[in-house]
Amino acid sequence: MLQRFLDPTVLAGISSLDLLAKTVVDGFVAGLHRSPDFGFSQEFAEYRAYTPGDDLRHVDWNLYARTERTYLKRYRGETNSQLTILLDASNSMQYSSGPVKKMDYARFIAASLFYLAIHNQRDAAGLIVFDDEVREYIRPSTRQGQLARLFAGLERAEPRARTNYSKPLQHFQNFLHRRGIVLVISDFYEEPQTIIQAIAPLRFHGNEVILFHVLDPQEIRPVLKGSMVLVDLETDRRMEVIPEYVKTEYRARMDAHLEALRTQAHAAGLDYQLLVTDRSLDAALREYLALRQAGN
């Protein structure tokens, strides 16, 4: 029954991100209890050979005593225990054809994931808000009040300026010291190659990088009744467009863009997921968990 609250149209009416995230995650987790496929616990996962630099505290000394070999004991709950979300706050994110803006949708996802990570799994979580530069950075932490700080950061992330992936992502390297999950939420209006080139380096530190591509349904399948002047939200450039073009050529080009982005992301070892703002939020959470499952 709580599933109906995961509809982004309904969630748009909830002003508090805290309440919103709690509603989404609790509803979502309540739904998951019936599923045996997903689980969250500190149970044993695997043994891994010791390599120099590993923390000696995680060496299984009992096993060493029996076999004289050093193995590290790993648990599920310890894997990727740091979540960093990179949120695109450029002007294009404020587009909407319905009651929910792309930015709102992105916020809902981010808030829900933060709640899930901190409240349910005691993971560290951080936030980087960027457009053409890094606007806000909240260091990943599990400290008391971290969730509130993250929500406040999300609240402050109003769309403005343009997107520029290359410039802010240079700084991301400085922020991401520990391995973890890096989640990039954006509409990715840029050439796929440029995007991948900018984001792929994040993976070099052992990060698991997931791209959440947020789009409005009207951006994928736009409908025009007649000739119309369109204005770019980021550049303010105007252009008169006819419906015939939108019906045929535009859709083809958009499909090609999505396909190229997906392909190149996978090729670069990045996970990619397209999120359309008319879909319910549990789909996004499902994608996230599926990707984590795969990563473990």
């Binding site: 294009s92 736009p222 002047v229 080009r253």
Partner: protein, 692 residues
């Protein structure tokens, strides 16, 4: 072309509104925001052009709509000929007067009316196809039987339905009717008159029968040759009421027989009572002359007797050989005369005058006012209150009820009528009392009766003469001034004081003489006109003059009083000479009067229970079959005094042009434009909405 309300053209300033709106719309576009123009390309030019064209069409429609609405308010018109040659109106007038029943003469055995109807039908059939026509019957009055229509069957049926009547035609009435008609019908009229062109149908003034210039008159005279000889009973003088058949003064019938265009001849004249010839008389009628025949005594039975005087005409017009009349025999009716105790002169004068009247049969019962308590007024023909202003209350109430039910009272105000005295039944007081004796002493001349309404039944005189019926010789010394509200003033003194008044109360009447009957306040009882006055007043007040006697065709009989409430009224039954009931059930309850359309005996049962039999005769002017001289007919038909030819006159109105308003057409166009604008605008605005 012009405008009937040009000041509305100021509304053309509103044309700037669509211009302004469309100019603004061209510059103000509502762009649609998108995240990125990355995948878009600029549209081709042709589509933008198409869109602009649509705007231009919308703008044109809006511009036209405002323009048309303003024009509609300004009411444009064009001048159009009021009628063209094809819109002539054929008017067929068929004379159905009494004289048309006469034989047509010549070879045919039919009447003049039959010939006239045949010719009228032929004229109707010969008219151009599609030409509008109208059928008119001319009898005692002008009857428009159809509207101007082109339907042959309807016109023919209307013409066929005309039957010869008993009325008297008057070409003056015809002229007046068509002068009124041409004020509404602007098309030229071809008038075909089918008549015997009887000379007696001409009005006294030739100008009355002249038609307006737009009427082209064609005469069809159905009377061939010289007028045939015709004898008729021109008039009958017989008592309507008879009490004693042995009374030599009253029980007699005097008839005047006349010949028109006849040689001297011996004719037999008969008196017919109840269908039986009771007396005959030979009479020698001179050439084109008259003779008088007298029948006495008149032995009629009790009740209403249907009588006729008939002449053995043996002429071409047998319909006028008899004149009918009704005589009602009854016992002498009593008249209650109430007077003051000391007044013995007024009953003497009034009784003497009443008994001197030739045609009345009344017995006067005089009584002192104080002794009238137990008397029932309904047992008397009428009641006279001679200077009796103080009545026993019981008797006064009885009198009020009597008048309300239809009884009539004659009130004479004598010396008792001083200022402030209440007048019984009249409903008011004596407002003033005029004493003219002092005037007489000072000026040496008394005051007389100045104005007399001779149409009032109690004062009726057919030919009052130059002495005004003898009334000016009456000297009045004392007269009361009464309230005239709701009353009819039938006579006034020379100073304007009403002297004879009539007021209707309920169904009855109160006749008020504002002076006395006792030869003290005036010298009226000493004049011959007093006898005539008493005679007429007695017949009027007793109501017997409407129960019998004779009338002319097209006269009216009053069936009930005008102030009578319709619900309380009883039903009236009328049987015409053919035995039919001319009034429908609803008319029988509401009709105020009846027009006597046919010759013969009418039987009428009035609402108050009285029965009447009335003999109705056609106007004897119809018996003179002489036609209008040809030169007069030519003058009437072929020309008017101020024009050269009828054709020229008839075509004159064709050139007049009438303004023809285009308002309706402009408004229709505006409506269509508005619909088109709505269709285009909704499509256009719908696109804008989805794009927004």
């Amino acid at each position: 072309m012009g405008f009937l309300a040009p000041w509305f053209l100021g509304g053309l300033a509103a044309l700037s509104v669509p211009v302004f709106v469309h100019l603004l719309r061209k510059h103000v576009t509502v762009p649609r925001p998108v995240s990125s123009l990355m995948f878009f390309e600029r549209g081709i030019q042709s589509s933008t052009r198409h869109r602009k064209l649509k705007h231009l069409l919308l703008f044109a429609l809006r511009f036209a709509l405002v323009l048309l609405v303003v024009l509609a308010f300004a009411n444009p018109f064009v001048r159009r000929a009021s009628a063209d040659a094809n819109s002539r109106l054929l008017l067929i007038v068929l004379d159905r007067s009494f004289s048309m029943k006469a034989g047509s003469g010549g070879m045919s055995a039919g009447t003049r009316f039959d010939d006239a109807k045949k010719q009228a039908l032929a004229t109707l059939a010969a008219r151009p196809h599609g030409e509008k026509a109208q059928i008119v019957a001319l009898g005692g009055e002008v009857e428009l039987l159809t509207q101007p229509i082109a339907d042959d069957a309807q016109l023919r049926a209307a013409l066929e339905s005309i039957e010869p009547g008993d009325g008297h035609a008057n070409f003056g009435e015809l002229g007046r009717a068509f002068r009124a008609l041409t004020e509404t019908v602007h098309a030229p009229i071809d008038l075909h008159l089918f008549s015997d062109m009887q000379h007696s149908a001409m009005p006294a003034n030739f100008g009355d029968m002249v038609f307006p210039p737009s009427v082209k008159l064609t005469l069809h005279n159905v009377a061939k040759g010289a007028a045939p000889p015709n004898w008729t009973v021109e008039s009958v003088n017989a008592p309507a009421e008879l009490a004693d058949p042995k009374d030599p003064k009253l029980s007699r019938v005097e008839a005047v027989v006349a010949g028109f265009n006849t040689p001297a001849a011996n004719k037999t004249v008969s008196l017919v009572i109840g269908g039986k010839v009771v007396a005959t008389s030979k009479v020698n009628i001179p050439e084109n002359g008259r003779a008088t025949v007298e029948f006495a005594p008149l032995n009629v039975a009790y009740g209403s007797d249907r009588c006729a005087v008939r002449i053995d005409g043996g002429d071409a017009f047998p319909a006028d050989d008899a004149t009918v009349f009704a005589v009602r025999r009854s016992d002498p009716e009593r008249v209650l005369f109430v007077h003051e105790a000391g007044d013995t002169r007024s009953p003497l004068y009034f009784g003497a005058a009443l008994s001197a009247v030739a045609q009345s049969s009344y017995v006067l019962q005089s009584v002192v006012a104080e002794q009238a308590t137990d008397l029932d007024p309904s047992k008397f023909a009428f009641v006279v209150l001679s200077d009796s202003l103080t009545l026993p209350s019981i008797f006064e109430h009885a009198l009020e009820a009597y008048v309300a039910k239809g009884g009539n009272v004659f009130v004479a105000l004598g010396t008792s009528a001083v200022r402030g005295t209440r007048i019984p039944l009249w409903g008011g007081q004596v407002q003033d009392a005029r004493d003219y004796i002092r005037d007489y002493a000072r000026k040496g001349a008394g005051i007389g009766v100045g104005q007399v309404d001779f149409s009032y039944p109690a004062l009726a005189q057919q030919q009052p003469g130059r002495d005004n019926g003898g009334w000016p010789e009456v000297k009045v010394d004392y007269a009361a001034v009464v309230d005239t509200a709701g009353a009819r003033v039938a006579a006034r003194l020379t100073d304007g004081t009403p002297i004879v008044l009539d007021k209707q109360i309920g169904e009855g009447h109160v006749l008020l003489l504002a002076t006395g009957l006792d030869n003290l306040t005036n010298d009226l009882p000493l004049h011959p006109v007093f006898v005539v006055f008493v005679d007429h007043a007695a017949r009027y007040l007793s109501g017997t003059d409407r129960l019998s006697g004779s009338r002319l065709v097209d006269a009216y009989v009053q069936l009930r009083s005008g102030t009578e409430p319709a619900i309380a009224a009883g039903s009236v039954e009328v049987t015409d000479p053919e035995g039919r009931r001319p009034l429908s059930l609803s008319e029988a309850r509401t009709a105020q009067s009846l027009r006597l359309e046919h010759a013969g005996f009418y039987q009428i049962h009035f609402a108050n229970g009285q029965d009447a039999v009335i003999g109705v005769n056609s106007d004897r002017r119809e018996s003179d079959l002489a036609a209008i001289p040809d030169d007069v007919l030519e003058l009437w038909s072929g020309s008017s005094p101020d024009a050269a030819g009828g054709t020229a006159i008839a075509t004159a109105p064709q050139e007049t042009k009438q303004p023809f308003s285009l308002w309706w057409y402009v408004m229709l166009l505006a409506f269509l434009t508005a619909m088109a604008e709505t269709a285009f605008a909704s499509r256009y605005l719908g696109t804008q909405r989805e794009g927004a």
